[in-house]
Symmetry: none
Subunit: 200 residues, 4 copies
DNA sequence: GATGAATGAGGATTCATTCAT
DNA sequence: GATGAATGAATCCTCATTCAT
């Protein structure tokens, strides 16, 4: 007799998650154009044919990875806003979670995939927009904290947009440099050094 | 009939430079895997067949772009070291030349190509190493200025490696964000805001 | 627990017939190469896996459809021969049953499938031969009626083979044109107009 | 030095024609779905890669074949209308050119390809419409001759649409049967037997 | 030097078929 | 009996590279 409905549903979810994990890894290392479907499927431990029972195309797998990243950014933003304490406390809280070396799950993979989606012309408008949106979500939250921090005297004065952008750019620059460094993070600046950029 | 020798030589150089310019543009927008030889040749205004008279393969074109970037980094580093003034003056001098929005020639293209060479697994070891080398050249010069600046009291105290890395990471993060921003640089932080990271 | 044997047997037959019906529809619309097993199974309301419990391969399903058509042709031929009346009466009787618009069950589907089997190189020798045989069965009966009709003065004179072939070709051409006509048969020639071809 | 512009143009035209010829053959024998691009290219004596320098896809090759058939039908129709003589003369003239066994060029291939385009659901709307149009062009001309022939007393009385349809259906049925007959046309009805259908 | 026709290896995608449940 | 997850062979299509002119 056939598998139960739930059993199949479960298998599908597990497979999809495996594929997304594998795809994030591969896309992060090779980008969309260079990654092959066979490689992603192999990394997920399934045949390439099965991938197409879960995603319509390589492009859609890529889109799903970016979408997942977008969702995680949304969750992070909401969690940050729900955090107790001063604006500075919340700024530190969210910074801890986007700072390199914190290795929260597959953050680095996501970062590279989103970066690819932002910079590469071969990416569809839709996916590009999701990537843009993802960046904006984090930026908006941080900027809000910067403004509040300036009011409470924790954050140095200056254009909040510029300050936010500089702050996030430095973190992104560090994430990036961590990515292609054989490095164990030995001489990575500390979280506090980076926060210093905003410190009043 | 005479002169043909020199004329040909000249044409060759011009063509090669055209191709490299075009290649930098295309590789910056699409990366190595997604860029096509036909597209590069078209951007250079020549047939794709001709490209193979100047480069043995697409990979070699890419390598030549990275190499050119490496050479420019070397020139920039030597020029910075030859600059008069205090360590801080020289730090500012070189910063002005790597800061986004300064639009020094094709810097942004080079940046993206080198970034691709650093992060993408599909790039050959040799080319990857050139890209790593390029980063190191700039980093070493800046770090030297940081050390000197700390001694002369212009640069804040702290681990020079970490400070240098944070400083360069923020610039790279800004260059990157400029790349995928429709942005006219409106809310780009100022050079002085960035230098503040190092300011004593 | 008892009865299961019979019940199962019954289910098998019903399923097989469902599948053949569905297959005839789909093969008629798409041909052998373009039709998918999944589509046939879906049209029959079962899973594609089940199809393989009844047929060894897609090709065999196709073969079974052609075979069914062959059997029906045989039945039709025998019935025509058993028909009372003059040669002309029997000619008219069988013509009524192969004439388009009479919508005798799934005749049009069968027609298209047999046509595909006759004309497409991708069809196996065996299946092709069944299709040829099917045509011959009808042709032979009609030709016999033509010969008899000539003797009795109902059918015009001339080479019986040629007359038969012309007569059947016109019917087949009409069936075909009905197939791809949004047509409700409005301007379809009448049965008598077609019989006129043979009328003395 | 490069080939002259005309030389290239010439090569392209020759190749395109080769490919269309080959495609008509292969599509006629296998249909759209079953024919492979490799097979078509091989039949044309070129690599499959080259086919894509002339056509964007297999579907477009198919479309081009149907279009060519459409154009030939248009030419035939115009020529028939320009023909001197009575309606009956012109009817006979065009019939001679669509009657099987006349082997005017690649008529049989075209016939099968158009038939496929008419009956197979896998064919795009656009291509299907061209095929419909092709049939209509011939039908309209013949019907005009039928009407004129009735007025001049050459053609039997009756609904011109029905008569035309019956007449063309019989020719099409004969073309079809010639296609899958190993036959040399031995017992093919004569042209006059077919014209008898319309004869007053 | 320059062009673009030609080739074929590589990779995305489909789908017949198998098989565990 | 019935299902649908899983596989991989087959085929379309792209594009780096070669080469005749």
């Amino acid at each position: 007799m056939p598998r139960t409905e739930e059993a199949n549903q479960h298998i599908r979810e597990v497979r999809r998650e495996q594929l997304l994990q594998a795809a994030a890894q591969v896309f992060a290392r090779k980008g969309l154009a260079d990654a092959t479907v066979a490689e992603i499927a192999a990394a997920a431990g399934v045949s390439h044919g099965l991938l197409y029972r879960h995603f319509a195309s390589k492009e859609e797998v890529f889109a799903a990875v970016v979408e997942q990243s977008l969702e995680q950014a949304g969750q992070l933003a909401r969690a940050a806003l729900a955090q107790p304490g001063t604006a500075w406390d919340r700024l530190r809280w969210i910074t801890e979670r986007i700072f390199p070396g914190q290795a929260l799950g597959n953050r680095p993979q996501f970062f590279m995939v989103v970066l690819y989606a932002l910079t590469n012309e071969g990416v569809s408008e839709h996916v590009h927009n999701m990537a843009v949106q993802q960046g904006k979500i984090i930026r908006d939250v941080v900027q809000q904290f910067v403004v509040e921090g300036q009011q409470s005297g924790h954050v140095r004065l200056g254009d909040p947009q510029q300050l936010t952008r500089l702050f996030l750019a430095s973190i992104q620059g560090l994430v990036l440099s961590e990515t292609f460094r054989q490095s164990n993070g030995a001489d990575l600046p500390t979280l506090d050094m980076v926060l210093q950029i905003l410190r009043a």
